[in-house]
Amino acid sequence: MKALEECQYQFEWDLWNCSETPASLFSMSNRIKADRELAFLHAIGSAGVMYVVTKNCSQGIQEACSCDVSRNGLLGKGSDWKWGGCSDNIDFGEYISRHVFSTTDTGRDAHAAMTTHNKQVGIQTLQVTAVLICKCHGVSGSCTIRTCWRQLADFRVPGNILKKKYKKAQRVNFYNGELRRGNSVRNVPLSLVSKSSLVYLSDSPNYCKIRHVNGMIGTQGRQCIKQEKGISVPKEHKKNCERLCRDCGFQIRRETLQEMSKCSCKFRWCCTVTCRDCLKTVTKNFCHKED
């Protein structure tokens, strides 16, 4: 699943490491808290569906891709692609993401409103990252005729944007059928939420204490990264091990492992078949429960 993969990449070094099942992308059932992590999941989930459907449409393997006729001229003979061609694949991906995968959360309560909003943010983010490319093909290749299309960016791009939005997510309240910023207890007029930011209803649980499916608690057993010789760490992860392990009451354990990896590969565009498997010694840090 593209979205989950991306989510796990984006949260590799965070307290919450996106250890979710694909089902949680689309329903609320196994998560009670409507926190900012869920907001991210919904956004990346809808963007992921849109992305994959668009790609499949382009490859011709998505059976349900249809030829939308919205841009065919008023009096055109509608359904005929020979008259006006087909719409963009991205439009169809958006349609599927919006209509087919939103059936699980209907209703007019706060959770449904939050889900709809965050999914919309995901779709919008993917749309913004799709680049408009144009090709001139007029007389002798001049620009009297130009045809434009949208090309999807790599999924990492919307992933990065959504991660930023996750950090700036806004806490909202459900008020009179609308999501509004701030706290309703205070007697301040509440402002509406911006359409491009992720929203959540309740604070995140303490991810140090959450019990996972495999019986581990919090960040127990997780790998963390540390600034060391030969390893450079991005700025935001400078104190990763402290944050991930120490703050949760775990100890950092340094382990030396033997790892199999591909090496001395002959560089080719695909399928590095001339690789050899080599044993490499790596040092990793893990969060470890105190004995």
Binding site: G60, C65, C67, S70, G84, H137, R268
Partner: protein, 497 residues
């Protein structure tokens, strides 16, 4: 110069005719904007990565989907299967089938769609060894792929191989190629239908007007003058452009249609440019006897030179594509330089042409204002003659400027609109680009029809001086108006004496 229809026409008739032509013009814009779809549409197709099992030498085609014919494919070049089975780069074939599936059905091309132009987009995974742009993928520019001047067949199957030759170094250091996209641009069938209908309707009309014009001239006792011959040629060029050759493409495979259309359009615009120069020249109203092509050789040379530059460029780009659709002059360094030099030369020619034209128009206006001051002192016949000349010139000036301004305005609107097309897909359903094409095409048709009607010799008898007397009087009159031209006029008078 003989009197033309324009001068004998009453204001009432002129306005009625003007409104009629304007309505015709408006209907062209509306047909394009409301009936026709966008001129072209795009198909973004992602290649299916088929696996080749046999030996390298075997000629084989791979079909991306279908029942038994479907090739054995992989989803991604870094999936486990590739490592487990030791699949090499040489075994992967990117397969494309145009057009793609929609609604679970296989679409097919129609011959109305006229042409197919494709570009390739490569997705290359980021490699820390080649740090260019931070990100997961390189931001690659488009590659021109191929261009077909006719869509004679229903389906097109494309197989792309990127074989690796370690000893020759072919395709070795190109990064990790994940996917190939082929973007196919085709003309819309609906647009072609509207376009061909307009051409089919306009062709007999322009032809009829042209024949009427020529018969008018033939009825005169004198041989046709230069301006009339130029106007006639302009009509012929217009008819050539109107000729609905597209009908033939429905039956015959005509890959040269793209080129023919470009050439037809080129001929028409070249003729139009020549016409403007000659028209301005014939209305300068000085004592120089022109009426011969020789006097315009400088100006016409600029037009012909510019056009032939573009023609050579066209031949070397679209002409070569007739034999090799994958050819592009831009892919080699020499070709790019050559193409650029042709375009620059054509640009220089265009600039010098416009300088000539502007200078000529300036001359005309200078003479017009000079004549204006002396008009009251002229005999009524002379006055009528000059007023006629001035009127004819101004009429053409205004209508030409109107057409040119409309073209430029509409071009800008359609370009702007296309850039923003992403943001306004639902609210407005007017096809600006189509409206631009049908509108501009219709406009020049109306322009040529208007010129042929207005500037045909009038058969209402008008008192006109014979050529010799007018010439003599012109010489006598010209030294009256201004100080600047008096020396010139004196010299001319001396020569006449």
């Amino acid at each position: 110069m003989a009197g033309v229809v324009l001068e004998t026409l009453s204001w009432k008739k002129l306005i009625a005719l003007g409104i009629l032509l304007l309505l015709l013009l408006l209907s062209f814009f509306l047909i394009g904007g409301l009936v026709a779809p966008n001129p072209s549409n795009v198909m973004v197709v992602l290649g299916t990565k088929c696996l080749r099992k046999g030996s390298h030498m075997q000629e084989e085609w791979f079909i991306p989907f279908g029942g038994n014919e479907k090739c054995d494919s992989i989803n991604s070049v870094d999936e486990d299967r590739v490592y487990d089975e030791g699949i090499s780069a040489n075994q992967i074939v990117f397969s494309f089938w145009l057009p793609y599936m929609r609604d679970g059905k296989q679409l097919d091309f129609s011959r109305w769609q006229q042409m197919l132009l494709t570009v390739m987009q490569l997705d290359i995974q980021y490699d820390p060894k080649f740090p260019m742009v931070k990100g997961n993928q390189y931001n690659c520019s488009l590659l021109a792929f191929f261009e077909l001047g006719s869509l004679h067949y229903d389906y097109y199957l494309i197989n792309v191989r990127v074989p690796v030759e370690p000893y020759k170094g072919i395709n070795m250091e190109i990064g990790s190629l994940m996917d190939i996209w082929v973007i196919g641009i085709h003309q819309n069938g609906g647009f072609t239908k509207v376009w061909v209908s307009i051409k089919t309707a306009m062709f007999p009309i322009v032809l009829a007007v042209l024949i009427w014009f020529w018969r008018r001239i033939m009825m005169l006792t004198r041989p046709p003058n230069l301006l009339e011959r130029t106007l006639f040629s302009l009509g012929i060029a217009m008819s050539l452009l109107n000729l609905p050759l597209e009908w033939l493409t429905l039956a015959v495979d005509m890959p040269f249609m793209l080129m023919i259309n470009d050439i037809r359009q080129g001929i028409f615009y070249a003729m139009l440019l020549c016409f403007w120069i000659i028209f301005a020249g014939e209305h300068i109203m000085d004592q120089v006897e022109r009426n011969r092509l020789k006097h315009y050789w400088k100006h016409l040379a600029a037009v012909i030179f510019g056009c032939s530059c573009l023609f050579i460029f066209e031949l070397s780009e679209r002409g070569v594509r007739l034999t090799n659709p994958f050819f592009s002059i831009w892919i080699t360094d020499v070709g790019t330089k050559l193409a650029l030099s042709f375009i620059i030369l054509a640009g220089i020619a265009a600039c010098s042409y416009f300088l000539f034209l502007c200078y000529m128009i300036f001359q005309v206006f200078r003479n017009i204002s000079a004549k204006r001051t002396t008009l009251p002192s002229m005999s009524s016949a002379r006055r009528k003659f000059y007023l006629g000349v001035i009127y004819r010139f101004k009429f053409l000036m205004i209508s030409t400027l109107f057409c040119a301004a409309l073209t430029v305005c509409f071009f800008i609107i359609s370009q702007l609109n296309e850039g923003q097309w992403k943001f306004m897909d639902q609210d407005l359903n007017l096809e600006y680009t189509s409206a631009f094409f049908t509108g501009v095409f219709g406009m020049w048709n109306v322009y040529v029809i208007g010129l042929l009607c207005m500037y045909a010799p009038s058969h209402k008898n008008k008192p006109m001086e014979t050529d010799e007397t007018s010439n003599e009087e012109e010489v006598q009159l010209t030294h009256l108006p201004s100080e600047t031209s008096s020396v010139q006029a004196f010299a001319a008078k001396a020569a006449a004496d």
